[in-house]
């Protein structure tokens, strides 16, 4: 039983739940809650993106596109056409999944940098459409979004959102961990390492890549929709290439093929600009230096590199003890 608790699955989930439950003790005011909510939303996107990049070994430099489509889909349907937000969210998510499914098939035939280019291009196209079609999207100035309401209950205020996003983050982590531990997840990891090796044991690599692409798009879209309702406003900046890069950076920073890494990456890189806020002229330089430094000294990302360090430390300890005995 104890061993079960210590497994990364159960133990990690419990630890994350504990962090979410205890964090309000140090969140002094609604500004802190606000940053925490943003961390949660980014973490959800990163968990999905990590399935694609970290586990399946594909890359996407266009995920802000899916995030943005989620945000704008909800914004337009709920605010402009008065749909109930939940219906708008579901319809948007479905549409984004469908889009990912349709474009994913040709795009995912590409490899490496070509795939990077294609996804980047996809993101740019989505961005251009959103910032040009101002009749629907409000153009570069953005669009206001009504608060999220289910039935008579209105989700408003950072504190309520904190718990909602916290719960959703737990669910997202749980889903991702489940998927990775399933035959499908093993298939994804297998094709990351050797596509031909995976194919000859009966895995349809193209189908799996497409599936995980769609899943990651859905994670991004849902987080986008929620984020739009939470902030009450969306601008094309959330769809831009730089936001895609930001997301990939969070994933890599936290650690590829580590679901908790994605959460840590999102947490660090979302709060860092807040810490650097008073040094606006140095912010970009420091941010860049942090990225380079982390990648050089912790090339696997923060969580896996530290876990490895911790493990080797522990096994060295164990060796020492064994030697003494």
């Amino acid at each position: 039983m104890l061993a079960h608790l210590a497994s990364p699955r159960t133990g990690g989930l419990l630890a994350l739940a504990a962090v979410i439950a205890l964090l309000p003790l140090v969140l002094r005011n609604s500004y802190f809650y606000d940053v925490a909510v943003l961390v949660g939303l980014n973490a959800i996107v990163c968990i999905g993106l990590n399935l694609l990049i970290g586990y399946a070994g594909q890359i996407s430099l266009g995920h802000a596109g899916f995030f943005g489509l989620g945000a704008y889909g909800s914004a337009i349907l709920a605010s402009r056409y008065g749909w109930p937000p939940l219906a708008a969210l579901l319809a948007t998510t479905f549409a984004v999944a469908l889009l990912a499914f349709i474009v994913g098939r040709p795009i995912l035939r590409l490899r490496g940098h070509y795939l990077a280019m294609a996804t980047l291009g996809l993101g740019v196209i989505i961005f251009m459409v959103i910032s040009t079609e101002d009749k629907f999207t409000g153009g570069p100035d953005g669009i206001s979004v009504v608060p999220f309401r289910i039935g008579g209950f209105v989700l408003q205020g950072e504190r309520i959102w904190y718990w909602v996003v916290g719960a959703l983050l737990l669910v997202a982590v749980w889903l991702a961990l489940n998927l990775i531990e399933s035959p499908t997840g093993r298939a994804l990891r297998a094709l990351h390492s050797s596509e031909v090796g995976a194919e000859v044991v009966g895995i349809n690599a193209a189908e799996h890549k497409l599936m995980v692409f769609v899943i990651s798009a859905v994670f991004a879209s849902v987080a986008g929709s929620l984020g739009a309702h939470y902030s009450g406003f969306v601008t094309p900046a959330k769809v831009a290439f730089l936001h895609s890069i930001e997301l990939v950076t969070m994933v890599v920073f936290g650690g590829l093929a580590s679901t908790f890494g994605a959460v840590v990456g999102a947490a660090v890189l979302t709060t860092l600009p807040q810490l650097l806020a008073t040094f606006e002229d140095y912010e970009m330089m420091v941010f860049g230096a942090v990225m380079i430094g982390t990648m050089i000294f912790l090339p696997r990302g923060v969580v896996p590199s530290l876990a490895r360090l911790f493990r080797s430390h522990r096994s060295a300890d164990a060796d020492n003890k064994a030697n003494k005995a």
Binding site: Y31, F233, D281
Partner: protein, 388 residues
């Protein structure tokens, strides 16, 4: 910049020491500073707005403090760089309200940032003076939201009035795909018919584009065009201006108030000669007649800014001057920092002579400027001149 940083942290240390001292020596020195919050696009694509705005705020907060502060209290500027990102702006606004507990917010260099923040300031009930241009900010009127710059609709109107007087009725529009450009383009299309103006060509270029001859060639080959209007800021209009001469268009050429800084003339080289644009009077401050109500204010600001920063003054910094001074004026009138009273005082502003014009706020007008705030300028001999 480094010096300000050092200064800031020095000031912070000083403030802390002062606060500690105040605890010992009693209420006489316990005057809390008045906190002015700001979020500006100091970096990023709109830094041409945010940078002079930030510099202006820093300069004048120091100046006011040196002169004894407001109501015997020092001003304290808390400023963040929102880099043109609405999401960042929203979070920083939250930080200003909840964490820094500022008394009034001045800022939002761009419309997107401003609009993202409005729900927050309305909910927190804190006076907010935006430095962005679009009409949507103050139309419809929001209780706690004001703005200082002339709106883009006024820019269009000013241009169209000038076109009317020159009997130009068919025009081509070329604009960037940024927020400022698109908003102005939409406003111009909206009000064009009121002035009998017909827009016969409508071209766009992207941020970072290096050449607009394709769009201008298209305009050149559009039948009946009598004038061209370019809405945009930054490198775009400079490239458009150069390409305009390159493809050999000789029609009257108008720019927007987005290029109202010396930089534009420099960047375009000789190509900017003869270009007209609407702008605040700041650019021609020294050339204004002595009886112009704004002259004294403009000349003082211009010289203060230019001697302190050793760079040309831009109208955008003026927005921040107006924002800060309107707030200070209102705090004085309200006799303190009670938010509701300050708000009411801002709304009651009348005959306030600012950089962007003479402000007359009212419950139905939270900008308080009319078309006279814009002057029609023409570039002659590499400098601004007042038309007529």
């Amino acid at each position: 910049m480094k010096s300000t940083l050092a200064k800031n942290s020095f000031k912070r240390g000083f403030a802390a020491a002062a606060a500690a001292f105040a605890l010992i020596s009693g209420p006489a020195l316990a005057q809390e500073p008045i906190k002015i919050g700001a979020f500006l696009s100091v970096t990023g694509p709109a830094s041409f707005l945010g940078d002079p705005e930030q510099k202006t705020l820093e300069l004048y907060v120091d100046k006011i403090n040196a002169a004894g502060g407001v109501l015997g209290r020092k001003l304290k500027l808390v400023s963040y760089d929102s880099a043109g990102d609405a999401e960042k702006a929203r979070t920083f606004a939250k930080r200003l309200i909840d964490q820094d507990k500022v008394d009034v917010i001045v800022g939002g260099s761009t419309t997107g940032e401003t609009m993202a923040v409005i729900p927050l300031v309305e909910a927190a009930q804190i006076p907010f003076i935006s430095l962005a241009g679009a009409v949507v900010i103050t139309e419809p009127v929001k209780k706690w939201v004001f703005k200082t710059p002339q709106s883009d609709r006024m820019a269009c109107e000013k241009i169209f009035v000038d076109m009317q007087s020159r009997k130009l009725s068919k025009i081509a529009l070329i604009s960037g795909n940024g927020a400022f450009d698109k908003s102005m383009r939409a406003q111009c299309m909206d009000v064009a018919k009121n002035y009998g103006i017909q827009i016969v060509a409508d071209e766009t270029y992207g941020a970072g584009d290096t050449d607009m001859t394709a769009q201008l060639t298209k305009i050149k080959n559009t039948a009946g065009v009598q004038a061209v209007l370019n809405a945009g800021f930054g490198a775009g209009p400079a490239i458009v201006t150069k390409n305009y001469r390159q493809v050999g268009i000789t029609l009257p050429f108008y720019q927007s108030h987005g290029v109202a800084s010396k930089e534009y003339i420099k960047l375009s080289g000789g190509a900017a000669e003869g270009v007209r644009l609407p702008a605040g009077a700041l650019l021609v401050a020294d050339g204004l007649p002595a009886n112009d109500p704004q002259r004294a204010v403009l000349v003082a600001y211009k010289h203060e800014y230019e001697s302190h920063y050793k760079s040309d003054v831009a109208t955008f910094g003026g927005h921040a001057w107006d924002g800060l001074m309107l707030a200070v004026d209102a705090i004085k009138k309200a006799g303190g920092t009670d938010k509701a009273k300050v708000r009411d005082a801002i709304e009651a502003t009348h005959g306030f002579v600012g950089i962007d014009g003479v402000f007359n706020m009212s419950p139905t007008d939270h900008m308080g400027l009319n078309l006279s705030a814009f002057r029609m300028l023409e570039i002659k001999g590499g400098d601004w001149t007042l038309v007529k």
